[in-house]
């Protein structure tokens, strides 16, 4: 396939661009932004993007400068014919025409298909698949910035691996590396395996293997269910058997045993009752004897008790008599002491009365003396208060005589005086003085004569007449100010006079004196008032009257007891008035002591009285008790005599008791034996009483009912489980499970065989891989040798699934991986690989294939330029049509001139 010419219309900056390509090498030169890359992209889209594509791929071609839809026209050679391709990119209405100028003229889908076939690609790229576009001829179309990438990297479809392998096969050994039948067989095997497994190795849903496994699982479940059902049936049958056995056991063993026990129990019960009857009879025989013994023993006890009672009562009577004699003696002693004490108490009572009277009178006397003293004090207070009142009246009169001047007024007067003095001094200071030293003529001033030695002060213009004929006018200094000073002095004088007149004084000093006098008098008056306020003058009169009343009452009381008073004084019991006050506490103390003693004696006497009364009472009780005891003794004796007469003496009774006791002992021994027998029988009956047996029978009945019910259920269960022949179901399930297992195993085995086969196919192909990698490496090595940069040969690995990989470059004795090379060397090695790819692929495209380098050597230093040119020249000689786009076309001009052509793209 060879490009012949191209024409762009309305493609980005290109309004119209026509380029003709040289069969070997076309150098497309131009500065930046002259549209080189646009040309490259437009050619690529023209070849590979569907004309009716929409979206980004088309939008990028649109021109912002020129109207109209982008159009690309490419002339090329392919399959021995010249083709003209026209694409107009106008979105979904885009058009394509493809013709060979010899009858074939296609458009639309047919044209796209034909174009794809000519280019050896699947189909034109749709707009929505735009991301796939760069992969088309990626090995042949080196865009700016992509020159340093490894062209063999990635999957084989980026560099047309299948076609490459085909070409390499033809290029290498004459023997084919794989035949179409090989591929078909492998595809068949793969297809069969793909029916079973997904690409990720999982079992494919719906595949025979998946179905077989599903069936196997289902069969396993069914088998387990069938087993379970059979086991359930067998278990139910076993349970039924157990139930049946138990039912039989209940009817045949347990219930008869219990009933037999019940009969035995009834027998034992009857025997027990018989023994009880025997024991009862024995007890009834023993009872009268015991009763008789009891009576005799009672009589004996009565006799013994009577004797004991008689002895006790006699002793008590004797003790009672002795106590009575002692008590009477004690009572007499007490009576004597009581009488004596009464006399003492009477004497003490008289003394106490006299002391009380003396104290009362003394108190009255003292109260009267106090009342008299208090009356005298009140009278003095009243006199003192009257004197204070008179003094106050005198002071008030003196105050009233003085002018009412306050301290503020005196101060105002003093200020007026000061102002008047200041005004006079100012006038005096401005006035002129006329002093007559000597005069021989009459001198008159303002008509008033002046004498020698006189001195007159003038404060206003005055006329001085000397003699008759001389008249002088004397004008003191100051002018108007003097006049004003004079006025102020007059005003100050008037104000002062006003103040003096108001206060009624003649001067400030006098006013001052008056103020001091007033202050002194007011102070004195306050002092008097204070003294008077200390006297309770309001109650004074009532108090005096009350005291008088009190004195009178006391006098009356004393008068009533005058006789007694005098007697006491005479007896010296009551001292004179002067000593009363000191005597009184002493007398009171004595009285208290007398009272205490009286009380003490009184209490003692009360105690004796109580003792006396108590003794009296006891004596009475003792007498009565003595009487009782005597009576009781008599009664006891009578009773004893009666008993002996009736039943015989105690000795007789004792003999009878012993005889009876012997009888009873014999009866008791018999009874004890009977009781023991009875207890044993009762104990035997206790464990399995009729109630316990009934209860157990009841339990058996309940158990039987439960078993019958369970039997019914299990019979039903057996019928239900047995209805569908569980044994048959199990056998069928086992057979189905085995069949499923076999089927599954067969498919597994088949899958294993297929996997094994395919693996062997891959291994076989890989074993032949050298036949692919060797010619490819040789092709690359040829270009590297042309480059002459020390890189001698390339090494490559080939894998049928992954394609070419592990590209290495040998330099001297060392090999380097592509990624380890420098940026410039990577560009050159990548170019060598691409040129080799194009060379190898070219025979599939009529011996020629275009290879585009768009500024692909920007990282290469100028020293490699010649080597690069040699590579390009070698490639062009091998059928590669080189399109070299460069912004420094001068570097390649010589090459273009020698083997190709140069096109300059102007800005």
């Amino acid at each position: 396939m060879r490009l012949l010419h191209a024409q762009l219309r309305n493609v980005r900056l290109h309004r119209e661009l026509a380029v003709t390509f040289h069969p070997r090498l076309t150098l497309l030169g131009g500065a930046n932004e002259t549209g080189k890359s646009t040309l490259v992209e437009a050619l690529h889209k023209g070849l590979f993007l569907k004309a009716s594509a929409t979206g980004k791929g088309v939008e990028e071609l649109r021109s912002s400068r020129h109207g109209g839809q982008p159009e690309v026209e490419i002339g090329f050679e392919a399959r021995g014919r010249q083709w003209l391709l026209r694409k107009r990119f106008s979105g979904s209405s885009g058009t394509i025409q493809l013709g060979d100028g010899a009858g074939v003229q296609l458009s639309g889908a047919a044209a796209e298909d034909q174009l794809a076939a000519l280019l050896g690609v699947e189909a034109a790229v749709e707009g929505r698949q735009i991301s796939q576009l760069p992969q088309r001829w990626a090995h042949l179309w080196v865009r700016q910035g992509e020159a340093g990438g490894n062209p063999l990297e990635g999957k084989g479809n980026t560099y047309d691996l299948d076609r490459l392998v085909q070409q390499l096969q033809q290029r290498g050994s004459s023997a084919a590396l794989e035949s179409p039948l090989d591929r078909k067989v492998e595809a068949l095997l793969q297809a069969e395996l793909d029916q079973l497994f997904t690409a990720t190795g999982k079992v494919r849903a719906g595949s025979p293997l998946a179905l077989a496994r599903q069936e196997l699982e289902q069969a396993g479940t069914t088998l387990a269910e069938a087993r379970s059902r059979l086991e359930q049936l067998n278990a139910a049958l076993e349970e039924l058997q157990r139930i049946e056995g138990r039912l039989q056991s209940i009817d045949a063993v347990d219930r008869p045993a219990l009933e037999s026990q019940r009969s035995a129990l009834a027998l034992a019960q009857r025997e027990l009752e018989h023994a009880e009857a025997k024991a009862a009879l024995e007890r009834s025989r023993r009872e009268p004897l015991a009763q008789q013994l009891h009576t005799l023993q009672g009589l004996l006890q009565q006799l013994t008790a009577l004797a004991a009672d008689h002895a006790t009562t006699s002793a008590e009577r004797d003790r009672c008599r002795s106590d009575q004699a002692q008590r009477q003696q004690h009572q007499q002693e007490l009576t004597r002491r009581l009488e004596q004490r009464q006399q003492e108490l009477n004497a003490l009572q008289a003394t106490l009365a006299e002391q009380a009277q003396a104290l009362e009178l003394a108190q009255l006397l003292l109260n009267r003396a106090e009342a008299l003293q208090r009356s005298a004090e009140l009278g003095e207070q009243r006199l003192h208060f009257s004197a204070l009142q008179e003094q106050a009246a005198a002071v008030k009169n003196r105050l009233a005589a003085l002018p009412p001047i306050s301290a503020e007024q005196v101060q105002a007067l003093r200020q007026a005086e000061q102002r008047q003095a200041l005004a006079s001094a100012r006038v005096e200071a401005m006035a002129a003085t006329v002093e007559v030293l000597a005069a021989d003529q009459a001198l008159r001033l303002e008509g008033h004569p002046l004498r020698p030695g006189a001195s007159v002060r003038i404060s206003r213009g005055s006329e001085l007449q000397v003699g008759e004929g001389v008249r002088l006018r004397i004008q003191p200094g100051g002018g108007e100010a003097l006049q004003q000073a004079e006025t102020e002095r007059t005003a100050a004088g008037e104000a002062l006079a006003g103040h003096l007149k108001q206060l009624g004084v003649e001067s400030g000093d006098q006013a001052d004196q008056v103020l001091r006098q007033r202050t002194g008098l007011e102070s004195e008056l306050a002092q008097l008032r204070k003294s008077a306020s200390a006297i309770p003058w309001q109650k004074l009169d009532s108090q005096i009257a009350a005291q008088a009343d009190k004195t009178r009452q006391l006098d009356t009381a004393l008068a009533q007891q005058q006789a007694c008073l005098e007697q006491l004084r005479r007896s010296g019991t009551l001292p004179a008035d002067a000593h009363l006050e000191a005597w009184l506490p002493e007398a009171r103390q004595q009285q208290q002591q007398s009272q205490a003693r009286w009380q003490h004696l009184q209490q003692e006497q009360q105690g004796w009285l109580a003792q006396h009364q108590n003794g009296q009472q006891q004596s009475q009780q003792s007498g009565s008790r003595l009487g009782e005891l005597e009576g009781r003794l008599t009664a006891l004796e009578q009773r004893r005599t009666g008993l002996v007469a009736e039943h015989g003496s105690a000795e007789v009774l004792e003999e009878q008791v012993q005889t009876l006791q012997e009888h009873l002992r014999r009866h008791d021994a018999q009874l004890q034996a009977l009781e023991q027998n009875l207890a044993q029988r009762r104990q035997q009956a206790a464990g399995t009483g009729p109630d316990a047996l009934d209860q157990r029978l009841q339990q058996l009945r309940a158990e039987k009912e439960g078993l019958l019910s369970a039997r019914g259920q299990h019979e039903q269960l057996c019928r239900s489980l047995g209805a569908s022949d569980p044994q048959a179901a199990l056998e069928q399930a086992e057979a189905a499970f085995e069949t499923a297992q076999e089927r599954c195993a067969a498919i597994d085995a088949r899958a294993t065989a297929l996997q094994l086969l395919l693996e062997r196919f891959r291994e076989a192909r890989n074993a032949l891989a050298d036949r692919y990698s060797q010619p490819m490496a040789e092709a690359i090595g040829g270009y590297l040798a042309s480059l002459g940069a020390g890189s001698e040969a390339a090494l490559l690995q080939f894998d049928t699934a992954k394609g070419f990989a592990e590209l290495q470059v040998r330099q001297g004795s060392e090999s380097f991986g592509f990624q380890r090379l420098s940026g410039g060397t990577r560009e050159q090695v990548a170019a060598a690989v691409r040129l080799a790819l194009a060379e190898v692929l070219a025979p599939a495209y009529d011996g020629s294939l275009p290879l585009v380098f768009d500024d692909a050597f920007t990282n290469s230093d100028p020293g490699r330029l010649e080597g690069l040119k040699r590579m390009l020249e070698r490639a062009s000689a091998q059928g590669v049509q080189v399109l070299l786009l460069s912004c420094t076309p001068g570097d390649y001009t010589d090459l273009a001139e020698r083997i190709g052509s140069e096109v300059s793209l102007a800005g």
Partner: protein, 413 residues
């Protein structure tokens, strides 16, 4: 002692009484491993039809009784239709039919023998049938029967133990005594046991009988059930085997499909004669296949064995070896035919499929198809180096070669 209702006795004959001894009818046996439901039904029906032939033997031998020593039914809860069919068939037997339950149809509660439907059907259709569920002597007109029924599926107690306590003097002295029991005999070797059961019919190892000499000398015949092959276990103790075979024989001596005609006399050894009853052919066939000739020989053998009979035979094909792809296709076709002709074709073992020499050469000698050739060569070499008896190593390689062969044929159209 229980006695049989006089009104139900069959035809009495003069002289020594004859008894037909059978066992293990296993009516209702499901044959679940037979995939085809029609064939399963035919197999089941064959067992019921056998009763008619037994009835004929009873009639022709003038039997005093037909004794069935257990496992008349295959399960303790058989289908109602089987119950009716059995009762109808037994009703046609002209003598008393005495049955004890075996391990398959044990006499426990919930089993068919207690079932109201069975009892009603017995009353209605087979009044001559008596199920012996109690271990006590039954006196017939001409003999005394000592039944040892199994009352549960699995019982460690010897069902014959009661005979050890029996008061023999109380039995009628002139009548022969027949013990009717079901179970394995204690003391038999493992090889004997293994000869009766197989992978589909596990032997009954749970119910063991002890033929104690103390009572054995008191009786005249022990009619045993449980083993499906005919087998004497002493001069007067026999397993009658199943009257219709239900398994493939495991050795040449194995015989089934008969009942025993036993002539009894008190104090004498019995005269025992097998009478044929079975109709189905159960054939084990050995197929060692390594060549086309082997395959042809097998075809001839089967032809001789089966003839034109359809739906009457069952074959157990013990296959081994390996055939070429072409021969294997023929073998597959033969198997397909057999599946149709037989009531059952049971295959055991495996017949491998590996390309023959010519077929391998057809794969390896392909210069034009290097991948196929190389893969086939490699597989063939691996196969040659694998140990001849290492099937695990060989089979995947053989399968792979076979798959490759098929794919090449398919690709070549």
């Amino acid at each position: 002692m229980q006695t049989l209702d006089k009104g139900r006795t069959g035809a009495a004959v003069l002289g020594d009484p004859v008894v037909i001894h059978s066992a293990d009818w296993q009516i209702g046996k499901p044959y679940g491993r037979v995939a085809d439901p029609d064939k399963r039904a035919r197999l089941r029906q064959a067992r019921i039809e056998t009763i008619g032939r037994i009835a004929e033997h009873c009639s022709t031998s003038g039997a005093a009784a037909l004794v069935v020593a257990g496992d008349l039914f295959d399960a303790p809860t058989p289908a109602a239709s089987d119950v009716s069919a059995v009762c109808a068939a037994l009703g046609a037997v002209g003598c008393p039919v005495l049955v004890i339950p075996g391990n398959h149809d044990h006499g426990g509660a919930g089993s068919v023998w207690h079932d109201a439907f069975f009892q009603a059907e017995r009353e209605r259709r087979a009044p001559n049938l008596q199920v012996l569920l109690e271990r006590q002597p039954l006196e017939l007109e001409q003999l005394v029967v000592l039944p040892c029924p199994l009352l549960r599926r699995s019982d460690s107690a010897d069902p014959c133990a009661w005979l050890g306590q029996l008061d023999w003097a109380a039995l009628p002295q002139g009548k022969p005594r027949l013990v009717l029991a079901h179970g394995s005999i204690q003391g038999f070797g493992a090889s004997d046991e293994a000869s009766d059961g197989d992978d589909e019919n596990p032997p009954n190892a749970n119910n063991l009988l002890r033929l104690d000499p103390t009572w054995l000398e008191q009786v005249d015949y022990v009619a045993l059930g449980d083993w499906h092959g005919l087998k004497p276990v002493g001069p007067k103790a026999w397993y009658a085997g199943t009257p219709e075979p239900d398994r493939f024989p495991r050795h040449a001596e194995y015989r089934a499909g008969v009942v025993l005609q036993v002539t009894l006399r008190r104090g004498q050894l019995p005269a025992v004669e097998p009478l044929a009853t079975g109709t189905l052919g159960w054939h084990p066939v050995q197929a060692s296949l390594h060549s086309n000739e082997d395959l042809e020989r097998l075809e001839r053998e089967l032809e001789a064995l089966l003839g034109d009979r359809v739906g009457r035979d069952l074959v157990l094909l013990e296959q081994r070896g390996s055939l070429s792809l072409e021969a294997h296709r023929r073998y597959a076709a033969l198997l397909e035919r057999l599946e149709a002709q037989l009531l059952r074709l049971k295959r055991r073992g495996h017949c491998g499929e590996a390309p023959g020499t010519a077929e391998v050469n057809g794969l390896t000698q392909r210069p034009g198809d290097p991948l196929i050739s190389q893969v086939a060569t490699a597989l063939q070499q691996e196969l040659a180096s694998a140990a001849a008896d290492d099937a695990d190593a060989q089979e995947p390689l053989q399968r792979a070669l076979a798959a490759l062969h098929r794919a090449v044929l398919q690709a070549e159209g």
